[in-house]
Amino acid sequence: MSKLNETDIQGFVLRGYNLPFGRYIFIHFKNPDRAVVLISKLLPMITTGQRWDNGKPPSTVNIAFTHRGLAALALPDATLLSFPVEFQQGMKKRAEILGDTGRNAPERWDAVWHGDEVHAWLGINGLTAEALETCCSQVRALFAETGGAIELAAQDAVSNMVNGQQTGKEHFGYTDGFGNPDYLGIERNSQPGHGKQLPDGSWAPLATGELLLGYADEAGELPIAPIPHILASNGTFMVYRKLHQNVATFRKFLDEQSANYGGGREKLAAKLIGRWRDGTPLELAPDAPDQSIVKDPTRNTNFTYGADGAGTRCPIGAHMRRAHPRDAFGFNGKLIDRRRITRRGQTYGRFVPEGESASDAEDRGVVFMVLNANISRQFEFVQQQWIEYGNDAKQGNDKDPLIGNHGGHGKFVVQGDRSASNPPLICGHLPNFVELRGGDYFFIPSITALGMIAMKLVDPR
């Protein structure tokens, strides 16, 4: 496969920027004629996938639209109706499918999601807080200058700092962001364990069409995409979910359960997710964390579950084993290759180190963004079948222990062995460690498509 046209793809799609400061601005278009002027003025600011040969830029800007947003831009009906159904409906209408009920139900989301007002997402990231502010001011000045959009809300995000250093740790203390897949044609420092497993045990990139519209996917087909083709090609879909983290509840759970667990508190924390909190995979180091593995790209994602069918190293129901089951369902992972998602996440709220008191009421969590070519086949399937349900993992109706919507009724079995430091444990009455505070489904168009929208040149045929 030849290289992709990186300058036509929004940079956010091709790489995690790993810039410490972020702000996600949600806007509403009042008038299509003024809105397209705004888009044409934003266009030169949009960060593309072009390589950063001179280091990271001070800030980045990316844009994505809800289906209502595209309608507000007066795209032709024939185009609007050609988008996949789940995108047309939006995430709120898919709540029952996704298990976004009870504590995660849309009525409990942030106010910005209560109406159907959100038309677009502007993702802005900065190397420094000042750079972020400067960029946001420039963008907001365009709102005012063009009259093209009103700002509904903004979500700030900032990477957690530990001892003054930017870290990849989220609020529960886990080091995050190991397992994004590789795709054909996308330049990246590839490592074993990314992508898909081949019958000989080696790893290869996934088909480009699992991420980008307009390219063949793992089934050898083009993903379902809107017409015209040129509007869709080099674009993708994003799922935006604001995940609140109940840090106090999480720590209390670890305290209480580990009192009866011979493995201890840190091992219990590791069993929930499948990695020690420093990132060491349990499959490779079941007894203690090992920084030499975490730092070694040839090892830190290079493992499978086939030799651990009983789950005595990594529990069968652990978060990581559910979300990316690798070979756990047999067939060399062939059943999961079309269910992979790319994650872009950033923490928000103040990080509270262990030892300091934290409250669930404080506003903190993860802005969780998923990129995939087919929301229904990829994100929704993973969320419904593997996170909120367990049959493929042979765990019945048990949910993901860490991010499942348990409502106080969850159960998690930590499989163990005869050793005193790795005994079996059954945790009952699991609460919600994570709660959904809102989000939606977005389309991230290519630079070409943005230009077409800005010039009102989208013709369905």
Partner: protein
Amino acid sequence: MSNINGKVYAMNAITPMKPWKTWILRLIFFVLGHVKSLQQDLINLSFIEFARWVVVPRGGFPQLGNGQEPEKLTYDYLLFFSNFNGTWNQYIDAFSAVLFKGLDLIWKWSEKFPGSVPVTIFKEYIGRVQFDTDYYFTAYPHATANDLKAAHSVQASFDDLRSRAANLSGPEFADAYLNFVLQVQPYLGETGEAPVVF
């Protein structure tokens, strides 16, 4: 009337075959039926409760009398019947991804069969030849095939522990109990409502 009862989906598909091809398929079924290793991939798809293909010859349809005219059928028919857990899409996706060779071998003798890869055209074909279920009884609508197998494992381990428990000393029972827990620990998932169909 629904194809879905709790966690189980019932699929019927009927496809016509030219009669001379039926003999080839019968030979293939004979081989598949006698070489167990060829069935292994189908068996390993753990969300399938049951799958069966049956040839219905054109002279084999019932004639009820009472003035029902005998039909002159041009084709023999292949009936596929399966019960599975999970979504229709998941089921056909899995078939297309890992069983495509076997499926093609069985279905290629049917008229207009497009092949099981690429999957979208295969799904369209299944959609056209699928007949909806009129009546469907499920003994355990809140359980999947995996749940039932797990329950059997737990029951067997429990029965074993119970049969020995009365004769064990305290420390021996502690050890036997730990053994029991280690045996059943992969099989303790809850049963319950199926996810919403999508």
